[in-house]
C-alpha cells in the first residue's frame, strides 16, 4: 500500500536519472565535452554502502505513517545527500590519478537530479513530521556541516568545480564579499524608504493609487536595461563633479547597481509594509485608541509587532530577489559572483559558471532560512 505518493514519484525520477543519465562526465580539458560516467560504474567495492540509505528511501513510500519511520526516512535522506557529494568527489579523485593534469571531472545531470529529488524528499518528510522552522533549519545546517567537512578535508578537490575555485581563489572571496555588500547596500535604502512609503500608502488611498503602479512599472523594466539607463546620467554627473568620482560615484560599478537594486527592492518591501498594516485587526487598534494611546504609540506598540511577520515576508522576497539580480550587475562592472559567472559563460567553462551560481543559490537559501526563522519568531507575539 503506497502511503506516500510524492516520495514514490521522487524515487522513480531519481532511479530513472541514475540509470539513464551520467552521474559524472570526464573531459580531456576544460573546454571539450566529457564522456559520461554512469552511477553504477562508480559504485565499486566499499562504495556499495552508499546504497543502504537508498534502500531505506526506496522503501519509504510503503512505510507505515508512524513518527519513528518518518524520522528514519528523514535521517536517511539527509545522510544520502552527504554521501552523494562524497561519492562524486571520491570518484573524481580516483579518475584524476590516472588522467593528465588538464583533464576535468564534472558533475553530471544524474547527480543534480538525485540531489534535488532527495532534498525534496527530505523537505516533504520534515513537513509530514510537522517539524518546526528551527528543527528544519537545524537539519539543513547539519547537512551543510557535513558537506563543509568534506570540503575542508579536501575530498572534493578533484571535481572540476573545485578546480575552478582553486584557479580563482583570490577573486572568489572578493567577489563573494562584494556580492553581499551590494545586496546590503541596496536593501538599506529600500527598507528606509519602502516601509514608511508602504505604511503611508496603506493609510492614504490616493498615495496607494500612485505608488504601487509606479513601483510595478519599475519592476517590469529588465534589470540589464535599468543598469544601462543609469550609466549615462551617472557618468555625466561624475564628469561634472569630479569629487563625486573620487568618492566612488560613477556610471559604472557598485553605485548604479545599488541604485537599480534599491528601486527593484522597493516594491516587495512597500507591499509587505502595506499588507502587514492591513492585516492588523481593527479591534486591536480600536482597543489601543480606547485606552488613550496616541497614533504614534499605536503604530509602535500595537500595529508594528502585529504587522511584523508580513513585513519580514516582504523583506525576504526583496533580499532573495536582490541576491539574484546582483548577478547581472557584473555586466556594468559592479563585480560580485556574477563576474565569475559571466567569465565562465564567455569562456564556455561551465564549471566556472557553477562556481559563480552555486554560492549565489546557497546565499539565497541561507537568507531565506534566516527570514523563515525570523518570521516564525515574530509570529509568537509576546504578551
Amino acid at each position: 500500500m503506497v502511503r506516500n505518493r510524492v516520495a514514490l514519484f521522487l524515487i522513480a525520477v531519481a532511479l530513472a536519472a541514475s540509470w539513464g543519465l551520467p552521474f559524472l562526465t570526464h573531459a580531456p580539458n576544460r573546454l571539450l565535452s566529457g564522456r559520461p560516467i554512469a552511477l553504477v560504474s562508480v559504485l565499486a567495492g566499499a562504495r556499495w554502502f552508499v546504497l543502504l540509505p537508498v534502500l531505506l528511501l526506496a522503501a519509504s513510500p510503503f512505510f507505515p505513517t508512524r513518527r519513528s519511520a518518518q524520522l528514519v526516512v528523514a535521517a536517511s535522506a539527509a545522510a544520502f545527500l552527504v554521501a552523494l557529494v562524497w561519492l562524486a568527489g571520491s570518484e573524481a579523485a580516483a579518475l584524476a590519478e590516472a588522467a593528465p593534469h588538464a583533464a576535468r571531472t564534472s558533475l553530471g545531470s544524474a547527480f543534480w537530479i538525485m540531489l534535488a529529488s532527495t532534498a525534496l524528499m527530505l523537505h516533504d518528510e520534515l513537513r509530514r513530521l510537522g517539524a518546526s522552522a528551527l528543527a528544519r533549519s537545524a537539519t539543513y545546517c547539519a547537512i551543510l556541516v557535513g558537506i563543509a567537512a568534506l570540503l575542508a578535508a579536501g575530498k572534493l578537490d578533484q571535481l572540476s568545480l573545485l578546480r575552478e575555485y582553486a584557479g580563482h581563489r583570490d577573486v572568489f572571496t572578493a567577489a563573494l564579499l562584494r556580492h553581499a555588500l551590494i545586496v546590503i547596500l541596496a536593501l538599506a535604502p529600500a527598507i528606509i524608504l519602502g516601509i514608511p512609503l508602504g505604511i503611508a500608502a496603506e493609510r492614504r488611498h490616493r498615495l496607494r493609487g500612485v505608488l504601487f503602479p509606479v513601483l510595478n512599472l519599475i519592476q517590469t523594466i529588465p534589470s540589464v536595461a535599468l543598469f544601462g539607463l543609469l550609466i549615462a546620467p551617472l557618468s555625466g554627473l561624475a564628469a561634472s563633479f569630479p569629487a563625486l568620482g573620487a568618492a566612488g560615484i560613477g556610471g559604472v560599478g557598485v553605485f548604479p547597481a545599488v541604485i537599480a537594486l534599491a528601486l527593484y527592492s522597493l516594491l516587495p518591501v512597500a507591499r509587505g509594509a502595506a499588507a502587514g498594516l492591513a492585516a492588523v485587526p481593527s479591534a486591536a487598534v480600536e482597543a489601543a485608541r480606547a485606552i488613550g494611546m496616541t497614533a504614534a504609540q499605536v503604530l509602535r506598540r500595537v500595529e508594528a509587532p502585529l504587522a511584523l511577520p508580513v513585513i519580514l515576508s516582504g523583506l525576504r522576497i526583496a533580499a532573495v530577489q536582490a541576491i539574484g539580480l546582483t548577478a547581472v550587475a557584473a555586466l556594468i562592472g559592479a563585480g560580485g559572483l556574477g563576474a565569475i559567472m559571466f567569465q565562465g559563460l564567455f569562456a564556455n567553462a561551465l564549471d566556472l559558471v557553477l562556481l559563480g551560481v552555486v554560492p549565489m543559490i546557497a546565499m539565497a537559501l541561507l537568507v531565506d532560512t534566516f527570514f523563515s526563522l525570523a518570521i516564525a519568531a515574530s509570529n509568537r507575539v509576546p504578551r
Binding site: 580539458n29 561624475a238 560613477g250 559604472v252 560599478g253 556594468i332 567569465q343 559563460l345 564567455f346 564556455n348
Partner: protein, 308 residues
C-alpha cells in the same frame, strides 16, 4: 590672531598643499582594468605584475565588463589603464569602412591620434598580433580538401563544398565581418550553411566545430583564441586583408602616464614580444588548461626575463 589659531591655519595650509591634485596623482595607484575575457585577464595581469615589480602601485579592477563598459569607465576617469584593440577605433569613432583600419600601422596611428585629441587617452606600443575574426575549419576537413587560406575556402564553397559554419549573429550580419569576407573572396554562404548563435562566444562556436555538434565543421573564431590548436581547428588565413586589424595595446589616461612616464618603456618590450603564436599558447593555458591567468602571466614574464 592668537598663536594657536595661527598654527592651525599653517597646518591646514600645509595639508592642502600636500593634497594638491598633482601630488595626489603621483601617489595615487594606477587602476588597471580589463575586459571580461581570457586575453583581457592575461594582458591585464601582465601589466599589473610588471608595474608592481617596478614600484608602481596598482589597483586590480580586471574583468570589469564588456567593451563599452570598460571604455566608458576610462573616459569617465574611473580606471586608468586597460588593454584595448586598435581596430575598435573603427567602432569608437564611427568610421567602420575606413581602409586605414585594415593596416596594422595606419590603424594604430589613426586611433592614437583620434583618442589623444578627443579623450586625452594614450595608446602605447601594440603587440604584433591580430585578434580579428577568422574562419577556422575542422582539421580533417581542411586536410581532405587542401584548404589553408580564405582563397582556398572561397573556391571550395563556390564549388559546392559542404560547409556548415557556426557563428554569432553579429558575425553574420555586421558588414565588417562575414559580408566583408564574402565580398573580398567572392563567395556566398547560404542560410542552410550557417548555424547562427546569439552571443559572440567563440569558445562555443569552436567547440561546435571540433565536436561537430549539429553538423558544424567550421567555426567563427578570433585570431588569438587559445583553443584553436588544442581543438584541432585550422585557421583560414586572410591574405587579402578583408578584416580590420585588432592589435592589443595598452590604453592609458594621459594624466596617469605623465605621473608615471616609465610605464611606457616598461610595457613596450612585453607587448612587442607577444605575437599571435605566443598569445594563442598563453590563452590556451588559461582557457583550455584551466590555469590561473595571474600564474600564466607571471610565468611568461619570468621566462622572457621581463620579471626577475
Amino acid at each position: 590672531m592668537t598663536g594657536r589659531s595661527l598654527r592651525w591655519l599653517a597646518l591646514c595650509g600645509l595639508l592642502l598643499f600636500a593634497l594638491r591634485p598633482e601630488a595626489t596623482a603621483a601617489q595615487a595607484p594606477v587602476r588597471v582594468a580589463s575586459k571580461i575575457d581570457t586575453e583581457g585577464a592575461l594582458l591585464g595581469n601582465m601589466m599589473i605584475a610588471l608595474l608592481e615589480a617596478n614600484g608602481i602601485k596598482t589597483v586590480n579592477k580586471l574583468q570589469l565588463g564588456p567593451t563599452n563598459i570598460v571604455r566608458s569607465a576610462i573616459i569617465a576617469g574611473e580606471i586608468d589603464l586597460y588593454p584595448e584593440y586598435t581596430g575598435n577605433g573603427a567602432v569608437f569613432f564611427s568610421m567602420p569602412s575606413d581602409p586605414a583600419w585594415k593596416n596594422a600601422k595606419s590603424g594604430y596611428e589613426k586611433v592614437k591620434e583620434l583618442d589623444r585629441s578627443a579623450n586625452k587617452l594614450v595608446w602605447l606600443q601594440p603587440a604584433p598580433a591580430n585578434n580579428t575574426w577568422v574562419i577556422s575549419l575542422h582539421r580533417d576537413l581542411a586536410a581532405a580538401n587542401h584548404l589553408a587560406t580564405m582563397t582556398d575556402f572561397a573556391g571550395w564553397v563556390r564549388g559546392g563544398g559542404a560547409v556548415k559554419l557556426a557563428a554569432s549573429a553579429e558575425f553574420v550580419e555586421s558588414p565588417a565581418a562575414l559580408p566583408s569576407f564574402e565580398k573580398t573572396y567572392d563567395f556566398k554562404l547560404k542560410p542552410s550553411q550557417l548555424i547562427v548563435l546569439a552571443g559572440g562566444d567563440t569558445a562555443v562556436t569552436m567547440r561546435a566545430a571540433a565536436e561537430q555538434i549539429s553538423g558544424a565543421n567550421a567555426a567563427m573564431a578570433y585570431g588569438t583564441d587559445g583553443a584553436l590548436d588544442s581543438l584541432g581547428l585550422v585557421v583560414m588565413s586572410d591574405a587579402k586583408g578583408a578584416q580590420v586589424i585588432y592589435a592589443p595595446a595598452p590604453l592609458v589616461r594621459g594624466g596617469v602616464l605623465e605621473a608615471y612616464p616609465k610605464m611606457a618603456e616598461l610595457l613596450e618590450p612585453v607587448f612587442r614580444s607577444l605575437d599571435e603564436a605566443a598569445l594563442r599558447r598563453l590563452n590556451a593555458r588559461i582557457a583550455v588548461g584551466g590555469e590561473e591567468a595571474r600564474e600564466v602571466a607571471a610565468d611568461y614574464l619570468r621566462t622572457k626575463g621581463f620579471l626577475k
